[in-house]
């Protein structure tokens, strides 16, 4: 079986997963203890208004009879699968869900990018370093650090960092420095309700066809030196918190993987061939150590979905995680359904990518149907 047939098969098999995820979410939202009309209008709303809103939201027919569940299900699912997300009910009334998501996405992408980078750029080299110097003092420091980073809960670390880095915390002594007229630029702001302009300015939507905003979803980052620095500083604590657990994981797994590889027979054979230590580590150890690291690295993408809700809440970052949380609380069912749909799609996509990457780095894994 060649690669493209395998890919098609995986996509076909992913469809039930997507449908199942959406169906469960639908049942929870439409058969759960939620009353969107009352929640939107408040407790003192007139019954006639509530009734009118229920009709508008599609819960009841104009004559007062309830719309059957299957009919609601059919309507919601067919819209979603055609990528028609509808309008928001409550978060931003009557604004299209797609445009809300697009406006919140830059902050989450920026956060996600740096938390992945923190984990990759710090975690993997530290893990390799520790593995190559196993049982030395520097190994103990590095792998001990790995355990600590791994063990610190996100919500705790987020609160501690937010507390110590903002103007009222540990950074308060900086105010003695003449840093700026009103604000202490050395401290981090956490009262960001909307995405700071520096961050939104980092991305501009490029219309590939002049004047026609066809590809609203396509972001092409256009860095601007100073804004980039500010945006980087702004996101760093949150990215560190979000990436910390993966970073710890990568240190631990990286160390073990290197250690296992470096004590293997094929490394001894490589030495017997007269290869330089550098070549042995880069070529022979590196690729073998990457195999157990792959699921850890790919796992970070899930973390970006689940973890960003909490981190965005604590650091008041107005991204998708924060949006998701608010949409559930209100509740704003079209926004929740759209986000769940996107998260499920990312999940399925990451899974398929991971399986394909396995075949690339480990030739023993093939797509051949041997069973």
């Amino acid at each position: 079986m060649n690669r493209s047939i395998y890919l098609l098969k995986r996509i076909a098999l992913a469809l039930p997963v997507i449908l199942f995820g959406l169906t469960v979410t639908f049942l929870i939202l439409y058969r759960g203890p939620l009353d969107p009309a009352n929640a939107i209008l408040g407790q003192d709303a007139a019954p006639s208004d509530v009734r009118r809103l229920r009709v508008a939201l599609g819960y009841i027919n104009p004559d007062g009879s309830p719309v059957p569940l299957w009919q609601q299900y059919y309507g919601v699912m067919s819209d979603l699968l055609l990528f028609d997300f509808g309008n928001s009910w409550a978060v931003q009334r009557n604004v299209s869900v797609a445009s809300i998501i697009v406006s919140r996405m830059p902050a989450t992408l920026w956060l996600g990018f740096w938390s992945v980078m923190v984990a990759l750029v710090v975690g993997i080299p530290t893990g390799f370093f520790a593995g190559l110097r196993a049982n030395s003092l520097s190994d103990y420091v590095a792998s001990g650090g790995g355990i600590v980073w791994r063990a610190m809960p996100n919500f705790w670390l987020a609160v501690i960092l937010a507390g110590s880095l903002t103007a009222g915390g540990l950074m308060s002594w900086y105010r003695h420095f003449p840093c700026g007229p009103n604000e202490n630029p050395c401290a981090w702001r956490t009262d960001v309700v909307t995405t700071p302009s520096e961050v939104s300015n980092l991305f501009s939507t490029i219309d590939l066809f002049t004047g026609v905003p066809v590809l609203e979803m396509l972001f092409i980052p256009v860095p601007n030196g100073f804004n980039l620095l500010i945006a980087f500083k702004w996101i760093l604590p949150a990215a560190l918190v979000l990436g910390s657990a993966s970073m710890g994981n990568e240190i631990r797994i990286g160390r073990t993987a290197v250690l296992e590889s470096i004590n293997s027979k094929y490394v001894e054979t490589a030495k017997a061939k007269g290869l330089s230590p550098r070549r042995i580590i880069v070529k022979h150890v590196g690729r073998n150590a990457a195999i157990p690291l792959l699921p850890v690295i790919m796992g970070e993408f899930y973390l970006l979905i689940g973890g960003s809700v909490l981190v965005e809440k604590v650091f008041s970052i107005n991204g998708l995680g924060n949006l998701f949380f608010r949409a559930i609380i209100v509740p704003d069912i079209p926004v929740v359904m759209a986000l769940v749909f996107i998260f499920v799609l990312i999940n399925v996509f990451v899974n398929i990518t991971q399986d394909l990457l396995y075949t690339v780095i480990d030739p023993r894994v093939t797509l051949e149907d041997t069973g």
């Binding site: 054979t269 061939k273 007269g274």
Partner: protein, 376 residues
């Protein structure tokens, strides 16, 4: 035979394999090699003061039970001993006129591959699973012979053909897991030949293979030796394989060489009780119907410098002095080719004389080590 050539020392066929007598330096000369491993509890004398030579074009066997220090000897020569292991001061490994124990890491790296190659025990694991066999052979060609591109590929195909792998051109692009066990060992041998070494250490290269494949590999090694003039150290615990391939044999026990002899002499007239025990344990050598004899007990872990004979607890002919005196190599036949480290020798002397002989030799040896700083 070279009988037509002018009568010089080389022409004497009986001197075959005895080039040292002609003043030629052996290719590899190991003397007083001590490799120890430091653990939390104790110090293990894995190789405890062994001496042996390998001449050019010769195959020297090292035989012994598991845990007798054979593989550590191989690793010591390759310079692959790493912490917590250490070669003690006073150990000497002379290869081709150079003292390897004084080499820096870079110098050792240069001698590995092109100077000394090693084929190790487990063909399943000695090839890197994520690179093709061809990639790994061509890597050896690139590093040791500066070949790359199409010439390297052609050479790699030739090498695979030389080790009798059919359809070599296609096999080159396959991964190790697509090879059978015997083919993998051939591929490892081809990879080592790609380094063009003068000297090859084979550390139990046939142990993981079945008997027919084993015979093919031995045949292959013999052919390659004849063709390339390789010197080989062949390590095994299989006396049958030793009889097949070796010119001279070192019998190791608990980190020491207990007997050295040319192969025919060792099998015909073993002197050390341990060697006798090993030979009696080969099926088919004892009378039919008789129960196969074994050596009771296990190899002890040498965790202290030898103060006695390490084989004594298992030895059927041990006497009191064996518990007190570390035996030293004694020449047991005419010529200096056959030695045994056992208090039963030199033959013809009384027990007291023999004990005194070994005590004196051990004292001398200890002084020699102390001078070179070998005793920790």
């Amino acid at each position: 035979m070279a009988s037509q050539s002018p009568p010089d020392a080389d022409a004497d066929p009986s001197a075959d394999g005895d080039m040292a007598a002609n003043g030629e330096e052996p290719l590899l000369s190991v003397s007083n090699l001590q490799t120890v491993f430091y653990t939390d509890k104790e110090t293990i004398y894995a190789v405890d003061g062994i001496d042996f030579d390998v001449k050019r074009g010769e195959t020297v066997g090292i035989v012994g039970e598991s845990g007798s220090g054979k593989s550590v000897t191989a690793r010591s020569i390759m310079g692959l001993i790493e912490s917590p292991g250490k070669m003690l001061e006073g150990s000497s490994i002379r290869f081709d006129g150079q003292e390897l124990t004084e080499f820096s890491a870079e110098e050792y790296q240069a001698i590995r591959g092109s100077g000394i190659g090693m084929v190790s025990q487990d063909p399943q694991q000695s090839l890197n699973p994520v690179y093709t066999v061809g990639n790994q052979i061509m890597e050896a060609l690139e590093v040791n012979r500066g070949m790359s591109g199409e010439p390297a590929r052609q050479e790699a195909i030739d090498l695979l053909e030389a080790v009798a792998i059919p359809d070599a051109a296609r096999r080159l692009d396959e991964y190790p897991h697509e090879f059978s066990g015997g083919m993998r060992q051939r591929a490892v041998i081809a990879m080592m030949l790609a380094c063009d070494p003068e000297f090859l250490i084979c550390d139990e290269p046939t142990t993981a293979l079945d008997v027919t494949i084993q015979a093919q590999i031995l045949e292959l090694l013999r052919d390659l030796q004849a063709e390339h003039g390789l010197s080989i150290i062949f390590i095994t615990h299989d006396m049958g394989v030793i009889a097949e391939i070796a010119d001279r044999v070192n019998v190791m026990y608990a980190g020491e060489i207990v007997e050295q002899a040319p192969v025919e002499e060792l099998f015909a007239d073993p002197k050390h009780p341990y060697t006798r025990g090993l030979l009696e344990a080969i099926p088919g050598r004892t009378e039919q119907g008789e129960q196969l004899r074994t050596i009771e007990g296990d190899v002890p872990t040498p965790n202290a410098p030898a103060e006695h004979c390490r084989f004594a607890p298992r030895c059927p002919v041990a006497f009191d002095a064996c518990e007190r005196i570390p035996p030293q190599p004694v020449t047991v036949e005419d010529g200096d080719e056959h030695t045994a480290s056992c208090l039963l020798y030199p033959e013809g002397e009384t027990e007291a004389e023999r004990a005194e002989h070994h005590r004196a030799a051990a004292g001398e040896r200890r002084r020699g080590r102390a001078e070179s700083g070998g005793e920790p």
